[in-house]
Symmetry: C2
Subunit: 260 residues, 2 copies
């Protein structure tokens, strides 16, 4: 029975997609069955695992608005055990189109619930916003994993994000919990990086009940280069610091769920 | 008569806000009258110049949906010559609320057109999306300035952005042009940074008709620290490389318009 995790933060460029791709890749390399759902019209997660928007005809848009099933749209990637529901150009219009639709916040939930028994992990890469796509992810998910760039603007955005999570818990998905906060693009040599990390650990704790992960992801150019090869860095650059960090994160996540 | 520039890129974290704040600050320090419009519900530009969302009651939401005028909502900042239209919490709901409203793409245009003669530059900080808020910015603007992080995902997003600009030119604002492309968070020591820069200069040219600026903004931690002090880096850290780059950018922009 898959655990469904929404990887979300309305702040842009904090490593949501890089985390979705590499945590997904690391879990697959460890033998788990992983489904990666690209919910961002930019389609970065799709291209980052080898399925750019221009090369696919059916994807998550069809799941949300055309009644398609996961079987209709999921595809293999070059990583054994890692499947993808890709983005197509049509997704750009999805949020506006969903506004008037019945059960508009539950579309993704219905589709993913039907296939939970086929995977161990379902990771949903969210766009940098708190709109209907992210809400669909929060309703479909068991938990929210929050990547957080160790800088001021990202920290400032947390209260808005937690507010939205609370709203979803109240009205749409009472079972939603926080999976944890992941410090990304960390540079501990700077005061800023150390201060943001200290404040975040202080505010959220470090427990397995949604606290800050002990693993932090360092800035490492290999992680930024990998997408141009259509492969997760954990596959394409097996020994770089970024890869080691995401493998460590996968282990910590498994340990939190008694699977290590 | 102000030149109105939308600072936009749907890719997150590429330096839209940092550019809005510091280009605005540099132009104000050079004696120009600048209005900074924060159009992103995250409210980063507002807090970055000292007016966080929690401390203001009226802002750009009221301009778009309550019939307020610029006079009602614009405020001074600690930088002489730099005014701000801030973000309030209400803006989170604006895109959904605008969907059914009359003239929904022209709201910002009407408000800003009325005060063009009071400023030399109006800079609009856009959110990481191509939704109704960004469309409002494109309809209000004379030009679009595109900050571009010198990495793969940001480059991949350019075609979608140019597509939206073309759509707006066709249906809503035929006079809209590209102000230019600005390479940000650049690290020329990496292959990735050099390759993305070369490809971008190749694709867009380097002319004053919307080409890539000669100025590039380096990664410099002072630019990330300044927002926590509520001041642009060009004021708070007058001699750092990031500040020098944004002052250089302001000069290059002025030269492009025969004002240097
Ligand atoms: N640890 C890292 N080291 C180096 N580069 C990184 C790292 N994490 C992410 N990047 C790069 O930083 C940029 C932003 O990361 P990413 O696209 O994953 O963030 P995001 O939160 O998904 O952005 P968006 O809000 O646009 O969806 C990308 O170019 C990515 O390749
Ligand atoms: N040249 C730079 N050097 C160092 N840090 C920078 C630089 N430019 C921006 N930053 C930092 O990088 C992060 C992203 O920048 P910024 O918020 O300006 O991007 P953005 O495009 O406005 O993001 P969003 O898509 O979320 O609106 C911020 O923490 C910012 O302080
Ligand atoms: Mg992303
Ligand atoms: Mg911004």
């Amino acid at each position: 029975m898959a655990r469904i995790i929404a990887i979300s933060n309305q702040k842009g460029g904090v490593g949501k997609t890089t985390t979705s791709i590499n945590l997904g890749g690391a879990l697959a390399l460890a033998g788990h069955r992983v489904l990666l759902v690209d919910l961002d019209p930019q389609g970065n997660a799709s291209s980052g695992v080898g399925w750019p928007r221009t090369e696919v005809e059916d994807g998550v848009y069809d799941l949300l608005l055309e009644g398609a099933s996961v079987d209709d749209v999921a595809r293999m990637t070059d990583v054994p055990g890692l499947e993808l529901i890709p983005v197509t150009d049509a997704l750009v219009g999805a949020e506006v189109e969903l506004v008037g639709e019945m059960g508009r916040e539950r579309r993704l939930h219905s589709a993913l619930d039907a296939v939970r028994d086929r995977y161990d992990w379902i990771l949903i890469d969210c766009p940098p916003s708190l709109g209907l796509l992210t809400i669909n992810a929060f309703v479909a998910a068991d938990s929210v994993l929050i990547p957080l760039q160790a800088e001021y603007f990202a920290m400032e955005g947390l209260s808005g994000l937690m507010n939205t999570v609370a709203q979803v818990q109240k009205w749409l998905n009472p079972a939603l919990v926080r999976e944890g906060v992941l410090l990304t693009l960390q540079d501990r040599r700077t005061n800023l990086g150390r201060e943001v990390e200290a404040q975040t650990r202080e505010a959220f704790g470090e427990g397995s009940d949604g606290g800050v992960f002990m693993t932090t992801i360092p800035r490492n150019v290999r992680l930024a280069e990998a997408p141009s090869h259509g492969l997760p860095a954990v596959v394409w650059a097996k020994h770089c610091p970024g890869t080691r960090a995401y493998i460590e994160l996968a282990d910590e996540l498994l340990a939190r769920h008694g699977l290590r």
